[in-house]
Symmetry: C2
Subunit: 142 residues, 2 copies
């Protein structure tokens, strides 16, 4: 448990003290600096966070590949960071980015291309943006 | 590991199959439906997700209190959900909301009230929005 003074430092202070989870990660939300659309939700470890701040390009940590990853290093779909913000308890980061092309590995502009709506037999999805800006099969050749 | 067909179902299908983590949670990003500003990043378990979809009001799961929580139940600062979206691999939710008052427990409109900038001796924070819309001491009386 943190003391009230420690919590106050984290919430009201100007020291950058990101609170990493047990896996050493913070959550990062990337939005389109021009439109406000949420492009993706991913994770950063300490190194990804430092590289992002130093370079002005988004770096993440891939949980599935267990590896540091510069956004766009395979696909060319890079993210230039216009502004980075940190939340009250310093465990989530918001970056406003200029997205080159598509943020999503499916080739779509945003990962959030489907909406959720209540239906008769439970919630259902529908596409709000099905368009692919690149062909993932051509970009991510194995 | 998932097969290619399973991944295709999750990413391209219309079935709502949220992928909860080991703690039974998905990440939820709430943005202001009017301005696109990120208000908060929090978590939902299956029940919070179902209640949010059914009621049109945001419910979350608090990891620190280990409890289901209707946003605004103590503070009155509720969130009406205008649209809910799900990301490609169905482990993150984006809700566009009409926020009553302030989303942050510190009394600020958004939890992301400080920005991060590179400095001489490492990253530094600065306030972009210090204004409190309510007094947390008065609202969260213990």
């Amino acid at each position: 448990m943190s003391t009230a003074a420690e919590i106050n430092d984290i919430e009201e202070g100007l020291a950058f003290r990101p609170k990493f989870d047990a896996a050493g990660l913070v959550t990062c939300v990337a939005t389109d600096a021009a439109t406000g659309e949420v492009l993706m939700v991913a994770h950063m470890n300490d190194e990804a966070l430092r590289k992002t701040i130093a370079s002005g390009e988004a770096w993440y940590f891939s949980r599935s590949r267990n590896a540091l990853w510069r956004k766009g290093e395979t696909s060319g779909q890079t993210q230039r960071v216009v502004e980075m913000r940190l939340d009250c308890d310093q465990d989530a980061v918001w970056i406003r980015v200029e997205q080159r092309g598509a943020a999503c590995h499916t080739g779509r502009r945003s990962c959030f291309y489907r909406k959720v709506e209540a239906g008769e037999g439970g919630a259902q999805l529908s596409f709000v943006d099905a368009e692919r800006l690149f062909d993932p099969k051509a970009v991510y050749r194995k």
